[in-house]
Symmetry: C2
Subunit: 402 residues, 2 copies
């Protein structure tokens, strides 16, 4: 692929977080009615002012600065003692052992972990099965390394308690020669959690076809009342066949520290570290120490955070459904993926109109796959502001109905 094409495929024009660089453009001629006033809500990411970082994070950071060189210069894969603590906590959380020495790597953000995992496992012309919809970078990463995406549908609106993964398409992708299955669980953008049965079937198929699995479990701690979660890495696959990615950016609001961890397959971690040496050397030495707060929060802190998110989720779901925007109930995480009614403007224009006419930032559904009638919201926001903004979204959808 020519460099020019390669970078065209990486377009960030509609990527979340880049709204500052997106000019309003000429949308005046599309505009119907007046502006709808209200405090700006940026649903493209969580609001760390509404949900504050884990208590003690800055203290751990400052201690690391005081510790000096020992903490500034860690192994490329991260400080050995912090990795030892994490391996223990994450093994307990996911239900399968982790080698602290050989099976863990700390990265600059979970994005860093995802990049290194894909770079380590996907080469020119390799086939990779990817769910539609799923995290927007998955597809871009595979394409950047010259791999070929084999899409697998997820019928997330079917109303059952399962995520809706199309297991027939999954098998077909594996039969067609996929080497790697890359997915987020809970699913980004829908908040769907794969059922025990779905993960079990995935594990069976992966074993039969010798597939390596990259599981992005970034949001797996923010699990709502009554939901259960199955970790693919605890499903009996060979250790070298799964790599799991997590980080404290989301539930814990520590995204300003940019920390991620990948764990599992030792040969994959080995490659990831070699690559990290030329990509960024290591996650910032001092920042790594903030991971000491992770899975180590004050008693009741996580429960309260889940309860608060669930309350926002329920209010927004009720509002959208009443306003005619069909929306799946997220079982975990803080994303909502409402379906828009038929509109007289394109999805991208509607997103721009929401921003410039109603002071609401959302992400286009088409970032996550061929979902041209959806928008994604991260509802980890101030509760009242989120509800007010959701009212504006419903009003705007009404106003631009075809």
């Amino acid at each position: 692929m020519l460099t020019t094409d390669k970078f065209a495929a990486l377009a960030t024009d509609n990527a979340p977080g880049q709204e500052l660089r997106q000019a309003a453009g000429n949308i005046g001629n599309l505009m119907r009615g007046e502006s709808i006033a209200g405090r700006l809500v940026d649903f493209s990411h969580g609001d760390v002012d509404a949900f504050l970082p884990t208590p003690g994070a800055l203290d751990r950071f400052s201690e690391a600065v005081a510790a000096g060189g020992r903490q500034a210069y860690t192994e490329y894969r991260g400080s050995a003692d912090i990795r030892a603590e994490l391996a223990e906590k994450l093994a307990a959380f996911t239900g399968a052992p982790i080698s602290a020495e050989h099976g863990t790597i700390i990265t600059p953000g979970t994005q860093g972990a995802l990049f290194l995992a894909v770079a380590s496992l996907v080469n020119q012309d390799d086939k990779v099965a990817i769910v539609q919809p799923d995290y927007f970078a998955n597809r871009k990463l595979v394409q950047f390394f010259g791999g070929q995406v084999l899409p697998v549908a997820m019928d997330y609106m079917d109303g059952s308690s399962e995520a809706g993964l199309d297991l027939t398409q999954l098998r077909a992708a594996f039969e067609a020669g996929a080497k790697v299955f890359l997915f987020s669980n809970p699913n980004n953008p829908t908040g769907a959690v794969y059922s025990e049965r779905e993960i079990g079937e995935l594990a069976k198929l992966a074993a039969a076809f010798d597939i390596t699995i990259i599981a992005d479990q970034l949001y797996s701690r923010l699990l709502y009342e009554g939901e259960s979660y199955t970790h693919i890495r605890a499903c009996g696959l060979p250790e070298e066949r799964t790599i799991t990615i997590m980080g404290p950016s989301k539930t814990e609001s520590l995204s300003g520290y940019r920390l991620g961890i990948a764990f599992g397959s030792p040969p994959t971690v080995e490659r990831m570290e070699k690559l990290q040496a030329i990509v960024s050397l290591r996650a910032p030495g001092y920042n790594q120490a903030v991971l000491r707060t992770w899975f180590n929060e004050p008693v009741g802190w996580l429960d309260e955070r889940i309860r608060q998110h669930q309350a926002i989720r329920d209010d927004l779901l009720a509002l959208f459904r009443k306003g005619g925007l069909a929306t799946r109930t997220p079982q975990a995480g803080s994303y909502l993926f409402p379906t828009l009614p038929p509109l007289a403007v394109s999805q991208h224009d509607f997103v721009r109109l929401l921003h410039h006419q109603a002071n609401v930032i959302v992400t286009s559904g088409s970032e996550f796959g061929p979902h041209h009638d959806s928008i994604r919201l991260n509802f980890s926001q101030d509760h009242d502001a989120a509800v007010a903004a959701a009212h504006r979204i419903v009003a705007m959808a009404d106003r631009y109905r075809r």
Copy 2:
């Protein structure tokens, strides 16, 4: 290239900073004499406990945490206001204008900037001219993207006041189809600074052959008494033909914050940001604020830091030369690249012996090119400890002489 070969080429077995992962192995049978006692000195990187981070760094960081979401979630290319400050300072430092909006990107470390720059400019089968010796990651980066390295020799021991770049070989590499010239200035590992004439000739050739230049100027602020420095980006090349990389990791001892910046060519910065979106999203939001201390240090702080490094440099140079290890005088930065006498053991074994028998960590010369008779030292260390360790290096070189 097969994935396996690709990762074999990325070997970090002898890379600086990875000594913790390097087992002593079976060197007992090579060992001559007893251990030489002394406090461990790790010359593989600077000692941020000996040379403390810039005053105020942690304060700027803490203020950023207090600022909350605004600082946690910046544009992928970094906070616009911090980039505006940097563009002004770096334009003044390098002597040519910089577009804050289109020509700057903040990255996780200068390694991150280097990775993104190479990834943006080098594709499968592209030819890239690289100096020998030069920073070990340069070659690995080009190879990782399927590019071909065209080596250009530097006769850094010729005793003149120039770096010793072989301009005939440089022209030959450009004639052979090189698209990109990637180099560090001051040169890592030798500390050589390219003369005004050398940079002028480079600029002329680059213009004639339409070459894009990636200039890694990480150490350009630590310039010793009486030396002068020529910035390639101020030599009249078209703006889109140079990208310069700097960061506060070295002179300023801020490496524990992992910050870098690339500036210059807007189309290259545009590509780098698209790629950063999938590699690591952005440099940590809070860490970026530490850049506010950069080029903004207390009066006299930089002069004193240079004076202290120059004193260590001069003591080590005298010691090595007296001990028979020919060494170029570094004009900037904190690296020394002494030539070892003929030894009865291989370079790698000598490096391991230094570590396990004399408590001194250095980096093998072969990491930087075909330099199997050299070792690299970062002498940004406690002065007395560095001198004591240099004595041990000389004693060990004597002991293992062929």
